[in-house]
Amino acid sequence: MRDHALRLQSLSKSFGRPAVDHLDLAVRRGEFYALLGPNGAGKTTTLRMATGLLAPDSGSVEVLGVDMLKDPSAAKRHLAYLPDEPMVYAKLKPTEYLEFVAGLWGIGAAEAAPRARHLLDWLDLTKHAHELTEGFSRGMKQKLALAGALIHSPQLLILDEPLTGLDAAAARQVKDLLQQHVADGGTVVLTTHILEVAERLAERIGVIRAGRLIAEGTLDELRALAGLGAAGTLEDVFLQLTGEPA
């Protein structure tokens, strides 16, 4: 099981009604995995349980072979989570935000400083490094949150709708960064409503509906599962599998 970056087994969570219902999911190390589903399918709840932000009613979460429920600190050490709403502080500057996040993960200055400079540079935030983030656009905040998520060089990066609200240039920067993360041996799990992103970036795609994984595989495997030919787009596949009206 150690070749799995993320493994969810029979994971369940209910908020009055089931949000996630005995979900089984396994993401291999070094894989780019996209989790798709209609609104309210349980994607965010799944990711929050996978990152230890929400306790499941039942089931297990394993991150890089470490049981999240038994040893959350060890499981979180090599994990980063980026929610759809960027977790940044309005009254901190990007440099200070990265200093704090590095402190949270216990990263020393020698390791953190060059990485922080590199990330700010890569995400085109260096010229804004001395401004308070309260004046940032949503895209800038999202990029800064991503820099914070990457400051401790996580092996597993879990992102919830990371491209929402980004302009084309910022979206390209984020996509490049995620691809580079996978190229460097890291693992990415993301949810997105932008199916083109999943189609172009993800090696495997999982489709979730009503808290259950209803389909999983490469795009070709999903096409076959949906009974569509090679010309079928992920959008066609998604609508076919979820039964959503076009």
């Binding site: 600190s73 949270l104 001395h130 308070l132 004046g135």
Partner: protein, 523 residues
Amino acid sequence: MTKLDGALNGAAGGTWWLLRHEVRMVFSATRKLRANGKISASWLGTSLTVVLQLLLHWGAYLLIPLIHRHGPTPALAAVLATAALLVGVTLMLATALRGSVAALFERGDLDLLLSSPLPAKSIFFARLLGIVVSVAGIFLFFLAPLANMGLLTGHPQWLALYVVVIALALLVSSCAMLLTLILVRLIGARRTKVLVQVLSAVAGALVFLLSQAANGRNELGARLQEMLHGDWSGVLWLGHAVLGQPAPLAGLLAAGVALFFFTTRTTRGFFVSGVQQAAGSGRAAAAPSGGPRFKFARGLVRATMVKEWRLIARDTRLLTQVLLRLLYMLPLGFIIFKNSATVNHAAGASLVFVCASLAGSLAWIIMAAEDAPDLLASAPRSASLMRRAKLAAATVPPLALVLLPVLWLALHQPLMGVVTLIALLLSSLASGIIVMWSGRPGARADFQRSGGGVDGTLQGVSCLAWGAAVWLLLAGLEHGVWLKWCALALGIALAALLIAWGIHGARVGRWRQQSPVGQVKVA
């Protein structure tokens, strides 16, 4: 004026329609203030309002005949009314300044309104009138019962209170908006926001500080006597308006209405440009050369403390609200340093009370109003370590602030200094722990409302009990009495802590279902 008149109708898109929207926003904020968390308290709030109004009317019904039977002479009444009115103006100014900052910088709906076909002058008119309504509303809530009962008991001159409050609200709101817009023009939107927030806080505290300063020198009575016997006719003219004399009343109302229309008609261009400037006010100056510089802290505790202090120090509104509580320490300075021969026991007790209160305030901001709880929860650190770091961030600043007075006390009366120091440490920690255990998560913007919940009450009780315990202990050590009462006060402080612990225990089960794995919420 004709176009404005045309807009003055209740139809959708008209000025009065917009004003209704503004008033709804004001009352919605008030309802939000009363509702705590997810419990909808609208019926409870309305019932309490009705009960309070009935009580105020009943009180006014009893009070007014007494005033007319045994009250002050007309001359003294004018002096007292003038003094009350000046106090009212100061408090109104604080509210109006907050309103003008909110109107320009914080509501966030001006882009929507200004992009609609509504004329800018109607928007400005409605927004300024909304500030007037909010300013007048607070005062009429408490003063209308006097006016109503005055009419009922055969003293219709009390109805002048309605006119005075509305006229003053018009005057003060217009002045506040003019000041804000002029400042935007002179020093830019970002600095204006900071300055006006500070001015608003200072205006609110001014009454207290002046009264304390005057009390310290026993000057309050002297000033009133001076007004009574000196040539203060210009100022007392305002008091005569409060007492219902027609000419001053009409003059005050005319001045208010005139300034209001002057403001709306002549400064609407400033208003629009102010809004445009405010939209870009978050941007900072260009980065210094040489690239970003980092100061990575060693350890989570230090990183957390630095982050929390930066967040508070840079939030001007929050800082002024917190510092206002510190302003109340100033009179303590007089007490401690004036009577150097006979150091007052109350000084040590007051230091403990103020320090513990401040620690509780900071604890609420730092723990209950954490902006990014998910970031902390996703970090590979135990919740208990984070809580300790946050507790340290909340308790260190107040302790540092009172260190000098405590040292002074210790030098002059060592026993008193040691007792006070121990009590300061324990009471500040108790305040922080009470918030940690019983505080409900909230937004920093809600800081002013944070004292109304169970945690605020427990914290208040704890601070008072600690202050009382110190006072009783110091007096007891000197005179050999009151020690059992000191034990009782400490028992009350302990009880507050235990209740908070009980609340924490009751919540843990629920939080475990909704919170991070292996830990409960930081607050």
